[in-house]
Point group: C2
Chain length 401, copies 2
């Protein structure tokens, strides 16, 4: 398999052949904004999903998991403004009706339709507006951009991209859209993300390739340590590009391309965390193993104290080390080296003097990098997060009121 990968940053989830989308303002959100969208493939797709690990699952998650059991799907309906979570039996009936309405609209069976809802928890969907909205949606080739906007809640910008890959198996495109921006934490699929490809992909391989891509991307970002009952990452593959069937034996490049799309979208989610002004990258090397490296990187990236310090350009690196220490990863303090924006602040467990003003100035940029060398083994991992601002609190102190 060749290795030519060409990213189309202006691309979106409808960039692969045969995918259409559309969105409307259905008045589910209190403000007059796009809040309901449909993504649809012209042909049946093999499909796979990764969902929230929260013990409380929103009705759309339970329904979509059920509809994915046969490893196929052809459409996704998504709304923002209401998560349809913690809504009891009537919430499940509403999710079922959403799938049925879309199926009728585009001529599918309800089992071919996946459902995703994001927004306030514990409030029933306004189904009259949802029904009217579904009827109004017009599906077009450019509709992916509107869909990316319709799934936004407190997101500041839509997150979307597409990538074109030339390979010996044939050329294909992978597109994706995602939304954040709060209740984002690893150990689960994290937020909503829809991926599409026109490659022909073996159904079992599609699930495994998706899980691996999620593990290095969405499962390595954190915004606030909270995890949503609605988290969903779904991929649809319709085969319209006419490639050979991609499977575990020839799928290396497909994995690489999917990782790239997921990583780009995940970093967009981290960068656009609620109230965030900076992207934080935490790279851990030399941990006992990869699992401990992941744990350490994610714990540091989610420390509210470190995140607040980054917000204020305060080179308070002690908080990095304190978070590392509580992460559960093995640490020998006297073997530990720490770099903040490429400045060594701790070497073999002892503080290294540094220019505080210079480092503070460098921390005022849009991206902050933390590197730790544990010098214990070969484990390494990278996590992404964002700073913690007063704005995060302001957003979340009056979300429903």
């Amino acid at each position: 398999m060749g290795t030519k990968v060409k990213a189309i940053i202006s691309g979106t989830v409808t960039s692969p052949q045969g995918f259409l989308a559309g969105a409307v303002k259905a008045s589910i959100k209190s403000q007059e904004k796009l809040d309901l969208a449909i993504l649809c493939s012209e042909k049946p797709c093999v499909a796979a999903g990764v969902f929230t690990t929260n013990a409380i699952k929103a009705a759309p998650v339970i329904l979509s998991q059920k509809h994915l059991k046969n490893r196929s799907a052809q459409a996704i309906v998504v709304n923002s403004g209401c998560a349809n979570a913690c809504t009891g039996d009537s919430g499940m009936a509403d999710a079922v009706e959403m799938a049925r309405s879309v199926a009728e609209k585009v001529g599918l069976s309800p089992e071919d339709v996946l459902v995703a809802s994001t927004g306030v928890i514990g409030v029933p969907l306004p189904m009259d507006r949802v029904r009217a909205g579904i009827r109004k949606v017009a599906l077009t080739k450019e509709g992916g951009h509107e869909l990316a906007r319709a799934m936004m809640t407190t997101d500041n910008f839509p997150k979307e991209m597409a990538i074109f890959v030339e390979s010996k198996l044939g050329g294909f495109t992978i597109g994706g859209v995602a939304k954040g921006a709060g209740m984002i934490h690893p150990d689960m699929a994290t937020m909503l993300c829809f991926l599409t490809t026109d490659a022909a992909v073996d159904a079992r391989f599609l699930k495994s390739v998706l899980q691996k891509a999620v593990n290095v991307s969405f499962n390595m970002i954190t915004i606030d340590g909270d995890t949503s009952p609605s988290d969903t990452v779904v991929i649809l593959a319709n085969g319209l590009a006419g490639t050979e069937t991609i499977n575990s034996r020839n799928g290396e490049l497909f994995q690489k391309a999917l990782d790239e799309v997921c990583l780009h979208l995940a970093k967009c989610v981290a960068r656009d965390g609620e109230g965030a002004t900076k992207l934080i990258e935490v790279a851990v090397e030399g941990a006992v193993n990869e699992a401990q490296a992941r744990l350490a990187a994610r714990t540091i990236a989610s420390s509210p104290l470190f995140k607040a310090a980054v917000h204020g350009n305060d080179p308070n690196w002690g908080r990095i080390v304190a978070a590392l220490g509580r992460s559960g990863a093995k640490v020998n303090e006297n073997q530990l080296d720490v770099y903040l924006n490429d400045v060594c602040v701790m070497k073999q467990g002892s503080p290294v003097p540094f220019g505080k003003k210079e480092l503070s100035t460098s921390l005022s940029g849009k991206e902050v990098s933390v590197r730790l060398y544990l010098n214990l083994g070969e484990g390494k991992a990278t996590a992404w997060g964002c700073d913690l601002s007063e704005e995060y609190v302001t957003i979340n102190s009056a979300y429903t009121s």
Copy 2:
């Protein structure tokens, strides 16, 4: 053993017989405030401690653990403004010197002196000022109040109390002081707390009674999910009240009294979390077992999204359920009942309509109560936390700069 317990709220760590304390402004803090203090017993004490579980331990923690190996101690020296953590070999030398200086001052051996430091991590102690400060401290019977102030960092008020207990074994007093106010999270001893008693207590029993008291108090509070390398809870018992020796066979009332002191101080710490305006109490009943109840209560009390909602008086109860779901405790959504400030918002997994304005008004008080009934078993636990305010971020975005 009798059960008469009389709390002395104006009391402090020097209320039990034979304890003296004093504090000075040693200029360790950048502002001119009390920042160095000594607590001392006139007689040798049996002693026990519970320390941070962070893999990175501050030098004073390592030294105090060593000095407690013989289960005895007679003095504690504490400073704020600098944690003497992540300071390498010279940091350990500084802690050793602090113990030695205090030992010389009050005529003890260095092994009888415990050391605690709180403040910025990764910065060496200004030892010239520490030495001068130790020389200046005057030990008095009323000095506990000054000590409570000297150990404060971002705390808004000193945390202290004493309790007088009449029992068949003889009357005795337990006193205590504590400080918060950030990097506070369970699974460890959490912050600094010094406890004293004039009861005669068996040394092994003292350790077990302290661990139990910490488990229901300091280990059940959370402010920000971060844990300090300096967390220390220490108890000194000098026997001067002339009670019979209290041990595991007759110590029920002592446990009860110590629990009460620890619980009062722990709730003070939670209430005075950095930027906090409210105390949040989360009570979980009907979990599969106590461990799961503790997990659930602590996860909810530490959810930044729920904490931010409480700050804004927003009855966004879905965030309670979302945090419960990610806690790891077993939950059957359709058996779950949730009460927010005594208003039922979810019954058997379905939302219950409630007066949003009335509940919002009730949430504007100084204490917010959450009760969850999982209806799965007998496990119950209570955790305490505080709201998340813009002020928390402001405090922590410029702590060292």
